[in-house]
Amino acid sequence: MIVHWLDPMLVLALLVNFFMLGASRLRAVIYAVAFQGVLLGLMPIFVHGEVGWWLGLLVIATIVIKGIVIPELVSYAMREVFISREIDPVVPFVPSLLLGAAGTGLALGYARTLPLAPSHSGSLIVPASLATVLTGFLILTTRRKAITQAVGYLVLENGIFLFGLLLIEAMPFLVEIGVLLDLFVCVFVMGIIIHHINQEFSSVSTEHLARLKD
């Protein structure tokens, strides 16, 4: 089932994770997540081997939504608020990188304990998916700008999509499309909220969103 091109693509996706953890320019991070989305969109072809009509539709839809539409939405939000850099996250860039590396190592280790079906054994999909989820979670929790937090959420969803690759043959179409749709709607709504945040505070640093506490 797995063509041997899949593993290098997964390694590339993981490298994109590291890049996103270390990059401070927002445009670079958005391009990176778009690239990762396109990469993930192409993977069903390599998981399956042959391309049926609905698989092709899924691939095209994923690439368009993850690679073009959503990054465009996030860029639009970025242009509206005129920010270009993430300054000084809660956890600085170097420790973020190290945490991401530790998380990837942990994901690789934990994935060893999860037994795979015979047709999937030896694949990097489970560790890659867990590592991407951890990276997304890290970006989400340690960055100050609302837009970067939204990008972190996108990476989290990418990780989940990666795992979904294992189930493409067996899962009903409904949930795969549900994932994509949910992603789209979430980002759309997040974009609206970011717009309102910007209008309210003239900034999208979430430092302004810290008044509610005990």
Binding site: L114, Y153, L174, T206
Partner: protein, 484 residues
């Protein structure tokens, strides 16, 4: 028949969106909920639909099983009473457009019904995600910086939780694939039937992810950080529905996963985790309730505490399962009445801070009195309903030999009572501060009657549990415990 339960609010949401009049639009809400409740009563009453789940064919996406019945009744009645209050609430702010607000309320009713009825893990997940999204605009009704912050936190944290729950669902689906079944499936009936053959490591990982994910929506610590902000800043009826209806829906999702674990014979693992998180929730809520300056946040932490109690009840098992399901209803009704009366207090005094609110019993006898009664109910005083359920959980803990759990539970209940009591007594008793000019808020029928109805129900549940309700709860408890 059950499809109508979902489609009617959906259709009415479209109608509400189209209605141009800001004044009459809110009144469509209680109308819809009345219809919804009537349909629910009919559906619950029909014996033909009370079939055994194993007899239903596997292609059923929506099934009314015993667990669903409990939650459906709660949601429907809560929505009815809260929408009556909402109609009165919105009529006091005629200049603010309530189109989006009303539409989203009906959409969330529809989606919550879908969550309850759905028997497919994926469909339940989609519906849960939809409830997150439909509630978000309602949090932002008042459009100030604080509610914006609350909405952002709510959206972000709950979306992350839902994403983790999706990963957990995928893990569960993969466990069926790995077990070498003919095709992987996410229908609950199939999962329960095949549970003993599913791969253990995958099931454990799936349970943890699903518990963390849906637990975020439920408000369990340490994922509860969105709850105080969201409940504190949302309009009163929205807070009431969040606490009384949305959190129990997330609890139902967790119950379904626990059901699968029980069917797989792996309940011990699930119980340990649930017990730990439940106690942690109660502890964190207790700590933050002491000297809480904002009484709506106080109520939010009380919600966290009660979600902890629910999970502890399930973890203890046996008689405590029945008590936990009863507590879902008790907590939902009491919390709703508390939030609604708190809303009245906030409108009357113009502030949520405890230093500005004092002497509520004198300024607003009805709301203040109901608020005090609600406080007594929620902290477990007889003769109200929550006393019965909380006490049952306690006795179940001691009778099954879990002395540490029971003692800790009792201690935390006491701390909560003291902490909350200090604040509430300060709010309710004493003399109201002098205000120049006429009071902005007058108690009306619509702002008082729903709360009276809710407290009446709570009192009735405490004094005497009606037989049909007892049967439904018993059936649900047996359904959950035996894994069939």
């Amino acid at each position: 028949m059950v499809w109508n339960l979902i489609l009617i609010p959906l259709g009415m949401a479209a109608v509400v969106f189209a209605v141009p009049s800001n004044r009459w639009r809110p009144w469509l809400l209680p109308l819809t909920c009345l219809g919804h409740l009537a349909l629910v009563v009919v559906v619950l009453g029909q014996p033909s639909l009370l079939g055994q789940p194993s007899l239903i064919s596997r292609e059923h996406w929506l099934v009314l099983d015993p667990l669903a019945k409990v939650f459906l009744g709660l949601i429907s009645s809560l929505f009815l009473l809260c929408t009556f209050y909402t109609a009165g609430y919105l009529s006091k702010e005629p200049e603010r457009s309530n189109r989006v607000f009303c539409t989203c309320l009906l959409l969330s009713l529809s989606m919550m019904t879908l969550v309850i009825l759905s028997h497919h893990l994926g469909l339940m997940w989609v519906a849960m995600e939809a409830t997150t999204l439909t509630m978000a605009p309602n949090l932002y009704f008042h459009r100030n910086p604080r509610s914006l912050e609350a909405t952002w936190k709510y959206l972000l944290i709950c979306s992350v939780g839902i994403a983790l729950a999706l990963l957990g669902s995928f893990f569960l689906a993969y466990s069926t694939l790995h077990a070498g079944l003919e095709e992987s499936t996410l229908f609950f009936d199939d999962l329960i039937r095949q549970a003993p053959t599913l791969s253990r490591p995958w099931m454990h990982a799936a349970f943890i992810l699903l518990f963390v994910g849906y637990g975020t929506k439920m408000g369990l610590a340490p994922m509860h950080t969105w709850l105080p902000d969201a409940h504190g800043e949302a309009p009163a009826p929205v807070s009431a529905l969040l606490s009384g209806a949305l959190l129990p829906c997330a609890f139902l999702a967790i119950l379904r996963i626990y059901h699968i674990c029980v069917a797989a014979g792996d309940a011990a693992f699930a119980r340990q985790i649930m017990l730990a998180i439940g106690l942690l929730s109660m502890a964190m809520a207790a700590v933050f309730m002491i000297r809480q300056r904002d009484f709506k946040r106080l109520l939010a932490y009380s919600s966290v505490e009660h979600m902890g109690i629910l999970v502890i009840g399930i973890a203890i098992g046996g008689w405590a399962t029945f008590a936990a399901l009863l507590h879902v209803i008790n907590n939902g009704l009491t919390k709703a009445s508390l939030f609604l009366s708190a809303g009245n207090l906030q409108s009357a005094f113009g502030s949520k801070q405890t230093e500005n609110v004092c002497g509520a019993l004198r300024r607003l006898p009805l709301s203040g009195g109901l608020f005090l009664a609600g406080f007594l109910a929620i902290t477990g005083s007889p003769p109200f309903g929550p006393f019965v359920s909380e006490f049952s959980i306690l006795t179940a803990a001691f009778s099954t030999g879990q002395y540490w759990t029971g003692s800790l539970y009792l201690l935390l209940l006491l701390v909560v009572f003291l902490g909350m009591g200090a604040t509430v007594v300060g709010l309710v008793l004493g003399n109201p501060p002098e205000t120049a000019g006429p009071a902005p808020f007058q108690e009306s029928f619509w702002s008082g009657a729903p709360i009276v109805a809710l407290m009446g129900l709570v009192l009735m549940l405490g004094l005497c549990l009606p037989a049909p309700l007892r049967e439904i709860l018993q059936e649900a408890a047996v359904f959950l415990e035996t894994g069939r």
